[in-house]
Amino acid sequence: MEGNPPPILSVRELKTYFFPDEGTVRAVDGASFDLYARKTLGIVGESGCGKSVTAKSILRIVERPGRVVGGSILLRRESGNGQPTELDLAQLDPEGPEMRQIRGGDIGLVFQEPMTSFSPVHTIGNQMIETIRLHHGVTEHQARERAVEILHLVGIPNPERRIDEFAFQLSGGLRQRAMIAMALSCGPRILIADEPTTALDVTTQAQILDLLRHLQEREGMTIILITHNLGVVAEMCDEVVVMYLGRVVEQGPVDAIFHAPKHPYTQALLRSIPSIHATVRTELPTIAGSIPHPYNRPAGCPFYPRCPDFMPGTCDRNEPSLRSVGDGQDVSCFLYQPA
């Protein structure tokens, strides 16, 4: 075993807030995690936990009135002389040339809804060719060849013909493949997939997950997979980050998260998912209450109002921090740390 290589992306204490007229929404509030080359990192959580905003923050495409207000996003890349350099994406101008190069060039993004992510008035090919030419400065003909090659790579049949079709002419599965092809057009090392299979049927979902796995094996892709589906996480990820209301509550290797979860939220979430292995017609254990509205965020640990292990006087007063509980597993909970 070689020593652990440094992560290619380190997010530290990331804070992304939204400032609508009504107040401040702390969508991501101090999230930290590392991404290692050729691995799949899963970010899981329910709606409003900040998983998508985290992805948008990394790419610096948070829409107004949102803004990255703190923390760092360190991207490690090879520079011209072979020396690795670190670049803090949080410090870059979101509209600047460097960030534009990183988007697509270093980090590709796959959205949840392929229908709305493609332009309805341009062919798939034109949209890919445009990005390839923008990033690589090649001729239209070369860019087209490259686009056909990528469409073939993602398993689209007859790519020479399909390249001239519009997104609405493709089925849901093919459209998501085209979306992945689009994200890959400029040869990124990191692929961020935000709920890439949520809009798809199960058999199509299986095809897309297979494709992502092949891309990782063959192309050495590093993947951040954002999803609410714990089944998808269990099947795909090496490392898992569990988020709740903008904070990382637990993270660790996939086996530890599923077989030795430490945080009460992770434990409750895993118990409450309907399982295909369950006994027919049984009640599911539930998590009490619902996710608080972002304006009414509880003080202290954000999960305490729903937590079965709530300790009055501790959890509602102080905020726990992410601490190691061994074997690469970190938990943010007072059950495992002094108040």
């Binding site: 709606s47 049927d201 599923f258 027919v280 539930t286």
Partner: protein, 334 residues
């Protein structure tokens, strides 16, 4: 006793083209579907998008008029009626007995109306009770679905997705229906809220003796609520059996593939999934023989030419596959 019996149901949608909108073809959305639902049980229709599960449900409620077939409904009072043959006026009393729970709790509640208006609407429309009685009934319904009656004057925007789905359930229960058609009732909800709504539906069924026709694509959810399951593919039922049996010993290759494609929430079970090639067949232009044969790994010559019929291969277990009796397929344990 059978509450509902569907026989040879067909629903075709015309494909029109050109200036004169001439009919150039048909989408056979539901093509010869037959099943029954016993009083007090839950039957789930499962399948992928475009398989006809929602169209079937909408035909039963007569939100759509079927092309052919019979839908026999035995109400709490009166004789068995064929829903497909009733006029609008005749349907009215029947509609009290069949209600629907919708998928999207955000678009299925009118944002400009209060909780009282929404839940009392079926009572008002059917002129049931005085205003005071309606208020009392709504309060009772809200308590039944786990909402506080004090919320009666609030608007839907003040509620979370799970609470809104409870409101939708309360509205569906207002007229004491015997049949509830639930079309993907939890697929728009967060995981932790899904469980609450599924438990509520199970509890209400026990308490009120409801019969559910549950339309869903998520097999894990289906396993939690159903007594029996019918799997649909391109407008037809390909397999139907009681839940335990269907999950443990599927007899149709499509059911096997569906079960295997569900991501299991356990990294130690990273299975060799059966990944089906290609897409779901086009209902406007289906393949010859068995509609599933182009994607089936067990397909033989007969599958390409002859359409299989839905046959009962064991008591209560129906399969539409030429090779159902010889194949041993992989199910899921538990």
């Amino acid at each position: 006793m059978r509450l509902l019996e569907v026989k040879g149901l067909q629903k075709f949608f015309p494909i029109r083209k050109g200036f004169l909108k001439r009919e150039v073809g048909q989408v056979r959305a539901v093509d010869d579907v037959s099943f029954h639902v016993e009083r007090g049980e839950t039957l789930s229709l499962v399948g992928e998008s475009g398989c006809g599960k929602t169209t079937t449900a909408r035909c039963i409620l007569r939100a759509l008029t079927p092309t052919a077939g019979q839908i026999l409904f035995r109400g709490s009072t009166g004789p068995v009626v064929d829903v497909t043959r009733l006029s609008k006026a005749q349907l009215r009393p029947l509609r009290r007995q069949m209600q629907m729970i919708f998928q999207d709790p955000f678009s299925s509640l009118n944002p400009r109306r209060t909780l009282f208006d929404i839940v009392a609407e079926p009572l008002v429309a059917n002129k049931i009770g005085t205003r005071q009685e309606q208020v009392e009934r709504v309060a009772e319904l809200l308590r039944m679905v786990g909402l506080r009656p004090e919320y009666i004057r609030r608007y839907p925007h003040a509620f979370s997705g799970g609470q809104r789905q409870r409101i939708g359930i309360a509205r569906a229960l207002a007229l004491n229906p015997s049949l509830i058609v639930a079309d993907e009732p939890v697929s728009a909800l967060d995981v932790s809220v899904q469980a609450q709504i599924l438990n509520l539906m199970l509890a209400l069924q026990k308490q009120l003796g409801l019969t559910y026709l549950f339309v869903a694509h998520d097999l894990s959810v289906v396993k939690h609520v159903s007594d029996r399951v019918a799997v649909m593919y391109v407008g037809r039922i390909v397999e139907m059996a009681d839940t335990q049996r269907l999950f443990a010993t599927p007899k149709h290759p499509y059911t096997e593939a569906l079960l295997s494609a569900v991501p299991k929430p356990d990294p130690r079970l990273r299975a060799q999934r059966i990944v089906l090639e290609g897409d779901v067949a086009d209902a406007a232009n289906p393949p010859s023989g068995c509609y599933f044969h182009p994607r089936c790994r067990y397909a033989q010559d007969v599958c390409r030419t002859e359409t299989p019929r839905l046959e009962e291969i064991a008591p209560g277990h129906f399969v539409s596959c030429h090779r159902a009796r010889e194949l041993t397929l992989r199910g899921v344990s538990g």
